[in-house]
């Protein structure tokens, strides 16, 4: 190891660079494809460098929509996706913080039963309970609405479990000091627990936002109104144009647009997340 430092440095770099190229290639193709006119992509060789249709393609996508795929502008879909993803993220964080708080800090009958109930639902993904959930949402008249998109997805056993584990690591003396300082449960929650959970919240925000953004099956089931379509559904509709020539330029453009918000969230929150990690220690 020590003797071959230079050779091993070169080798590791080559492997890493190869990995990056391998991972980035599809993204590159998508970016390039979204800047060409549709016909350019049906002929081989497919172009590897940007074309001159970027502005037209994206304007068509964002403002007018693609007639072959329903004609809904992507800006509407992106806003729908954003509302849904943020709603799911904030909802999940709020609910799991509160339920973890109850499970860790309060002694009530059947506390452990509730904990295990929550824990067991970890094993049930949305797809498993999709029929009963759909039935409930339909009877509550929440089809084709933001609340119908968001509310059924905001209970999170994973996040509850994560916050529970974190709360258990907070020393009892801190709770006791707060009690002596005259802080009741709600004040303790807001003044002490929330600030201490900052890093966990940031980490979860990233994961949950992407989870929410990428929802496909659920919005597909409960929305029939085009104005409520999300962008992930939009990609699928681009691919399924039926008998026409595949509109790869628009499909790829949609994919690129769908990627931007999650990338931004990761970039912004990651900085916060790392800062939190460096700053707070117990």
């Amino acid at each position: 190891m020590v003797e071959n430092r230079k050779a091993s440095a070169i080798l590791t770099h080559v492997i890493l660079i190869a990995g990056i190229v391998f991972l980035c290639f599809p993204v590159w193709v998508a970016l390039v494809a979204s800047t060409h006119p549709g016909e350019a992509l049906t002929k081989s060789p497919i172009p590897m460098w940007f074309g001159d249709h970027a502005v037209e393609n994206y304007r068509q996508l964002l403002i007018e929509g693609v007639p072959a795929a329903g004609g809904v502008p992507l800006s509407t879909m992106m806003i729908n996706s954003l509302v849904m993803a943020l709603g799911i993220t904030f909802g999940k964080i709020a609910i799991s913080l509160i339920s973890a708080f109850a499970i860790v800090y309060f002694r009530f009958p059947f506390r452990m039963v509730f904990f295990w109930l929550i824990f067991v639902t970890l094993m049930l993904p949305v797809e498993v309970r999709i029929l009963p959930t759909y039935d409930v949402v339909a009877s509550l008249g929440m089809l084709n609405s933001y609340s119908g998109l968001i509310i059924p997805l905001i209970a999170s056993a994973t996040a509850t479990f994560l916050f529970r584990q974190f709360f258990l690591t907070i020393p009892d003396e801190l709770v006791e000091a707060a009690r002596i300082d005259g802080a009741g449960p709600i004040r303790f929650f807001i003044d002490i627990l929330l600030p201490l959970s900052r890093t966990n919240i940031a980490a979860l925000f990233i994961i949950l936002f992407i989870f929410g953004w990428n929802q496909y099956l659920w919005p597909f089931l409960i929305t029939t109104d085009q104005d409520l379509y999300t962008i992930v559904m939009g990609i699928q509709r681009m691919v399924n144009v039926g008998e026409g020539i595949p509109i790869w330029n628009y499909t790829m453009g949609t994919a690129v647009l769908a990627m931007i918000p999650p990338v931004l969230v990761v970039l912004v929150m990651q900085r916060l997340f790392v800062k939190g990690l460096v700053e707070s220690e117990k």
Binding site: E173, L174, D181, P195
Partner: protein
């Protein structure tokens, strides 16, 4: 400022484990009381019951003449300093100190005035805007004290506040604590397992063992008139030599005793009461520990080991045969249950 009254206060855990059997004692206003004992003796439980962190399962606790059994900790007019400081890690020193007052709804300028005063007193002024993790252990403990001081409570509770600090800092902060008590003139209740801390700080010591109070008294009372062999062997460093009355050494010591002995079980003598003489008890030196100002000499009498506190530079080697002189008034006699026999002498 308030006095404290524990009337048969006890704690039994749900499983039936009794942590504290009914404790009875009063604490005068402005008194410095130290609860001392080995770990698991219930001293911390008593402190936590006074604080309201632990439910009292029997008896009544009064602070300043009012029963507080069912009051929340925040309503008891107490402040507590924890062993691991328990500072809020995400708050600055100032915010840590302000938190309790803020919860009481005190106006901001008044809070700041109190914090500034406490910070000056504790020499924390340069650190007010730092977070606890940027402070050393000693500074953190000062902040924890500051957090208690600004609330101006009637009773200060300390749960082994110096145990996490190194020896030098401990000595320094011990002196500061004593000074603090003098200046605040408040009631202090302090828990420690370190008998030296207890001796040097306390007006009165409550010494506990296995959930029971063994003895309550001033440090000198406990030292010179231990109520039981437990107290005798807990207080003092090295502790009192306690020998069985019917062993070789014990019988030898008892032969010097002139008081009414009665039902003798054990006999004790402080290391410093022993001295070398021309005649008297014969013993063999087994170990010599020179400590600078003094020298500890381990002696063997039959099967018994005793420690003598000798002068600096005492010239003895292991194996030497010596004679011990023991003044009879230095002996403490205990009955077979380990309780001190009150002698008329």
């Amino acid at each position: 400022m308030a006095e404290l009254k524990l009337d048969n206060v006890g704690k039994t855990y749900p499983g039936g484990v009794m942590a504290v059997e009914g404790a009875n004692f009063d604490v005068a206003d402005g008194e410095f009381i130290v609860l001392v004992g080995p770990s698991g003796c219930g001293k911390s439980t008593i402190l936590r019951m006074i604080a309201g962190l632990e439910e009292i399962t029997q008896g009544e606790l009064q602070i300043g003449g009012r029963g507080v059994n069912h009051l929340e900790p925040g309503e008891r007019d107490i402040a507590m300093v924890f062993q691991n400081y328990a500072l809020y890690p995400h708050m600055t020193v100032r915010a840590n100190m302000a938190y309790g007052l803020k919860n009481q709804g005190m106006p901001k300028d008044q809070i700041n005035a109190r914090i500034d005063e406490a910070a000056r007193f504790l020499q924390l002024e340069p650190y007010l805007d730092r977070k606890p993790r940027a402070l050393s252990g000693g500074q953190r403990q000062r902040v924890a004290m500051g957090r208690a001081i600004v609330r101006e409570p009637s009773v200060f509770l300390f749960d082994e506040p110096l145990s996490n600090l190194d020896a030098k800092l401990r000595t320094q902060l011990r002196a500061e604590l004593k000074d603090l008590h003098k200046r605040l003139k408040a009631t202090f209740i302090y828990v420690t397992h370190d008998q030296i801390e207890a001796m040097s700080l306390a007006d009165r010591i409550v010494i506990m063992s296995a959930g029971k109070i063994e003895q309550i008294g001033t440090p000198m009372e406990l030292y010179s008139k231990p109520a039981s062999t437990f107290v005798a062997e807990f207080i003092g460093s090295p502790p009192m030599n306690v020998l069985k009355g019917d062993s070789v050494g014990g019988a030898g010591l008892l032969s010097q005793y002139t008081g009414t002995a009665g039902n003798v079980g054990y006999v004790g003598v402080r290391p410093e009461a022993l001295s070398l003489g021309k005649s008297g008890l014969q013993a063999t030196v087994t170990l010599v520990e020179p400590l600078g100002a003094e020298t500890l000499v381990h002696l063997k009498l039959g099967d018994d080991i005793m420690i003598m506190r000798g002068a600096h530079g005492i010239d003895l080697a292991p194996g030497a045969e010596v004679h011990l002189s023991v003044p009879d008034e230095a002996l403490t006699v205990f009955d077979r249950d380990g309780r001190a026999v009150v002698s008329s002498a």
